[in-house]
Amino acid sequence: MARFEGEMLGRAERLASLYPDPRSAIIPLCHLAQEQDGYVTEEAIAHIGELVGATGAEVQGTASFYDMLKFEPVGKYVIGVCTNISCMLRGGYELLDAASNTLGVPPGETTADGIFTLEEVECVAHCDKAPAVQINYRYFGPVDSDAFAELVGQLKSGELDEQVPEHGTLIRVLRDAPPPIPLEEIDAERARQDAEREARAASREV
């Protein structure tokens, strides 16, 4: 399964129709592809191109700008260990080594069972809990080597399923966007706020 089909195709078409220019949907569609297959496959890129009227080269060019879109298969869990300054001072590199030992793969690779991918990442803005680990973009910290081994155990046993969904899943509750607000209403609201502001300014001047 790589091209969108069935329900996925419906979601893809809906995404493409959300924008005045369907090309704006390239990134959301890449996320959708990643949700479907765990990474953005070549077939998906070609299909996205068809859906939005772009060439494969253009979709690939746009998508490859982003680190969070993967173009090779990754594990069910993508684990990032931060080695930026705060985490480094608090043992980030040691943690990365430990993680590597625990999982049995060097950073950048995926375990043979296809469950874990280990990555070295730059600051993920969890500095106050350094050293930080992100698993499928969910944050944990501070983590030492024992805590890391425990996390891995919990992931394997399914204990963390609620907290950490499979790689590629961005949202688990699909909500429809509220109906668009008519432009006139927006204009009226703006005019009202402008008038209020002016009135406030006038009262200050007095």
């Binding site: 890129i45 070609a46 772009a54 060439t55 494969g56 080269a57 253009e58 060019g61 490859s64 700008f65």
Partner: protein
């Protein structure tokens, strides 16, 4: 409307510049050259390389700004020589070189490379960089014609911008980010574009190179001359470059009027067939007692004169016929017209393969490319520019983006369909009403209406197109015409008198004193001549660089023809025709002889010379003159200059034509010179826009100013002696017939054939081209879903197409094909034989079992 001017100070010089001009162009205008990489005068500015930084005054004082991205504004001050600018330039160069492999000694760009040149001019001279550089696999073939070396790329965005913005085929794009950014195609999708070669021309480093040119030569060893592409009638201006008597490459010259520096791959890589000596006719051949033998020119020419004399003695002048293909250059066409009409005196001359009627209507109202692109409405009749005159497709895309109103009149969907405001179907039953329907879709308002006419559907007799053209012109008497008839010099052949009913100049000029009494060829026509020859009514059939197989005659029929009459061919390449000929004369081909041609807007263009003619080939006019001598009338043509002197005497299109005209314009003059402004003086070209023109050695006359066509040209021609009835007004027979041209009736289970011309067709020349031969597509038949159902076949089944010959191919259903049509795609040469000449060819389908 004159441009609004603003006053700016550039390096202390106060100048007036049109508002909206990018600073870099304003600086170019006063001769200040700012270094640059990403800027290209024919593409939109992106400002990504930062090489063009200059100091620009603003509300907070001077700051460094990219001069390609910022436009001039009133009162603006620009400084290009300050310390800050110098440091910025040095910094950018250092940054660009940080990851550059500096493998100039083995790089094809070395010696003409903007990065190399600008690093020398603005770089530090020494590197501070000791770290390991980026490494990529290389070279990567991104198509059969182009190789990519990612390590050399400086991410200037030129190739990607070209693919997206100019060609509209974004098959090449950046991939990745930051240090990992690189040029890439997608997956296994080739950068398959008719225009792909342009990226190798504009890449400012050696990252994109043309496979046929790789490691062929160093730029400083090349010689070059200004010339015109000889593969279609658009007339792209080129620099043709050679080394050691072999063509190495062709670069597009930025001609304002024509190609804006772009070329199509057919034109750019056409040199591979010129260089392919194995497929060339290298010496005269004579068939004696069934065997073909190489002979001397004297023998061959003597043999031709002999059969001509015999035929004339037996059955009169009309027993000799001449067919051309529009491929000879102007000088050759003129000499052969004189030989045929005046010396031999035959009325059977058609050098345009039946397109004479269209040409006759065209010349009286020829529009320039510029006029067509800025017209109120452009009506495209039976034409797909992308397939027939490819670079016009690029110009059209730009014009449509700027608001050109395009009306398409074609039988099936083409590259125009997506751009056209209206698409009108050209169907066999509506030919009579077509003009009226088209008229209704022309918007009112100011400006010309221009008709762009081509020969897209090979299965439709050009006479049908001619008829429609007449009716359009009758309905819109003010309309102008831009012609996209395919063969390079078909318009020159017309004006040289190689077309039915036309004498040289196509005007009411005087008969030069060396002419006697030219025959009246107004009843001649390619199809009729061929019919007469097959019926044995013609004793000698002379073919001027025309392969009958390519024109649609099956090899067996050509051989039969060779038995019924003496086939004489003048040819550069071996083909079914040359092999079946009684005598073959080797013809100097493109770049082997100086000369000129006329493009589809009636512009006279120079053809440069870079090679010794292959083997014993000679220019066509020399061959004509030799044959004439043997017939006892030397035609007074001893140099190309003699031809020019006569052309001027003829007047009409050639009034005022002097060899010096090529000196005064970059683009060549529109004919007749007197009616048009001869155009501006030669322009300086941006050396970074097309690297490789300025850096190559020039041999012969100054490159930019244009070559004097023939230094020996002198005579001013003799005084007018006789008024002759000539011109387009004498009109070809089919033109007089108007729309009543018979297109025939489709029988039961027959349908009308649509056989659209393609850039890559498997003719003898393409087959001889190792770089391009693989681009010919397999044959396919496209029909409407309803027809497929009636046939009881499935998509992908094999079918037999039955017309004047039978071919087998895979059938596909395509909803855009009208039910009355059967479209055959793919261009093996056998497909062309489905065309049966008169009217509109019809075919029938049969399902193959299994």
């Amino acid at each position: 409307m004159p441009d609004e001017l603003v006053s700016v100070t550039l390096d202390g010089q106060v100048v007036q510049v049109a508002k909206g001009t990018p600073i870099i162009e304003a600086l170019d205008q006063i001769g200040v050259h700012v270094p640059r990489f990403c800027y290209h005068p024919r593409m939109s500015a992106v400002g990504v390389c930062r090489m063009c930084l200059v100091e620009v005054s603003g509300p907070r004082g001077f700051s460094l700004q990219p001069s390609c991205y910022l436009s001039v504004a009133e009162g603006m001050e620009v400084v290009t020589t300050s310390e800050a600018v110098r440091k910025a330039q040095g910094g950018v160069i250092e940054f660009l070189l940080a990851n550059h492999p500096l493998d100039c000694p083995v790089c094809d760009k070395g010696g003409e490379c903007p990065l190399q040149d600008q690093a020398f001019a603005h770089g530090a001279g020494e590197t501070r960089y000791v770290e390991e550089k980026r490494h990529y696999a290389k070279p990567i073939p991104i198509s059969r014609l182009i190789k990519l070396d990612r390590e050399r790329c400086i991410q200037c965005d030129r190739c990607t911008r070209f693919a997206d913005e100019v060609a509209g085929e974004a098959l090449l794009d950046f991939r990745g980010r930051g240090n990992a950014i690189r040029i890439s195609t997608f997956s296994s999708v080739e950068f398959d574009s008719y225009f792909s070669g342009n990226v190798t021309q504009i890449c400012p480093v050696g990252a994109l190179t043309a496979t046929p040119y790789r490691f062929k030569a160093r730029p400083w060893d090349l010689t070059q001359s200004a010339s015109t592409c000889g593969w279609c009638s658009f007339g792209c201006q080129v620099s043709v470059q050679a080394s050691q008597n072999e063509l190495t490459r062709v670069l597009g010259i930025d001609s304002d009027a024509i190609n804006h520096s772009w070329l199509c791959d057919r034109g750019r890589f056409g040199i591979s067939e010129v260089n392919n000596r194995d497929s060339r006719v290298l010496s005269p051949w004579l068939r004696e007692g069934g065997a073909r033998r190489e002979v001397s020119w004297t023998r061959a020419v003597g043999a031709i004169a002999e059969v001509v004399k015999q035929a004339k003695a037996r059955n009169g002048n009309a027993s000799v016929a001449v067919i051309g293909s529009g491929r000879l250059n102007l000088e050759d066409s003129y000499a052969w017209a004189k030989l045929a009409l005046d010396v031999i005196g035959t009325p059977l001359v058609d050098g345009l393969l039946g397109q004479g009627g269209i040409a006759a209507t065209w010349f009286e109202r020829a529009a320039s490319i510029e006029q067509a692109l800025s017209s109120r409405a452009l009506i495209a009749l039976n034409v797909d520019p992308k397939e027939e005159v490819p670079v016009l497709h690029l110009r059209l895309r730009e014009a449509v983006r700027k608001g050109l109103h395009l009306i398409e009149v074609n039988s099936t969907a083409t590259s125009l369909s997506a751009m056209a405001a209206t698409s009108i179907q050209l169907s066999p039953d509506k030919v009579g009403e077509l003009a009226e329907v088209v008229m209704r879709s022309v918007p009112g308002g100011e400006g010309d209406v221009v008709i762009l006419v081509g020969g897209l559907n090979r299965a439709m007799d050009p006479a049908v197109t001619s008829g429609i053209l007449q009716s359009l012109v009758a309905a819109m008497p003010e309309a102008k015409i831009l012609s996209a008839l395919g063969a390079a010099n078909v318009h020159g052949a017309f004006l040289a008198g190689l077309s039915p009913g036309v004498l040289p100049g196509a005007g009411e000029g005087a008969l030069p004193s060396s002419w006697r009494a030219p025959a009246d060829s107004s009843r001649a026509n390619y199809a009729n001549i061929l019919r007469a020859a097959s019926a044995g009514e013609v004793g000698v059939l002379i073919l001027l660089d025309c392969d009958l197989e390519e024109a649609g005659v099956a090899p067996a029929a050509i051989e039969a023809l060779g038995e019924r009459c003496a086939l004489i061919s003048l040819a550069s390449y071996e083909s079914a025709t040359s092999r079946a000929s009684a005598v073959t004369l080797p013809l100097a081909t493109w770049s082997e002889a100086r000369g000129s041609m006329v493009n589809g807007e009636g512009r006279m263009l120079r053809l440069g010379e870079q090679l010794e003619p292959a083997g014993l080939s000679k220019p066509g006019w020399v061959a004509a003159s030799l044959v004439a001598s043997d017939l006892g009338n030397d035609m007074s043509i001893f140099t190309a200059g003699d031809i020019w002197a006569e052309l001027k005497t003829w007047g009409g299109a050639f009034a005022g034509v002097e060899p010096e005209i090529f000196n005064s314009t970059l683009d060549g003059p529109l004919l007749p010179v007197a009616r048009w402004n001869a155009g501006g003086p030669p322009r300086a070209l941006d050396p970074v826009a097309t690297p490789g023109i300025a850096s190559v050695r020039r041999q012969g006359p100054d490159f930019r100013a244009g070559a004097v066509l023939d230094p020996h040209a002198t005579g001013t021609g003799s005084a007018p002696t006789a008024k002759v009835l000539t011109a387009g007004r004498l009109a070809a027979a089919d033109a007089r017939a108007g729309v009543s041209v018979e297109i025939g009736v489709a029988g039961e289970d027959e349908a009308w054939l649509v056989l659209a011309r393609r850039v890559y067709e498997a003719d003898a020349r393409l087959a001889a081209n190792p770089a391009l031969a693989s681009f010919v597509r397999d044959d396919r038949v496209m029909v409407s879903p309803a027809r497929l159902a009636r046939l009881g076949a499935d998509d992908g089944d094999r079918v037999r197409v039955i017309g004047s010959v039978e071919i087998e191919a895979v059938v596909h259903s395509d909803a855009s094909i009208p039910d009355w049509a059967i479209a055959v795609e793919g261009r093996t040469i056998a497909v062309m034989h489905l065309v049966d000449g008169a009217g509109w060819s019809r075919v029938r389908l049969e399902r193959l079992n299994g």
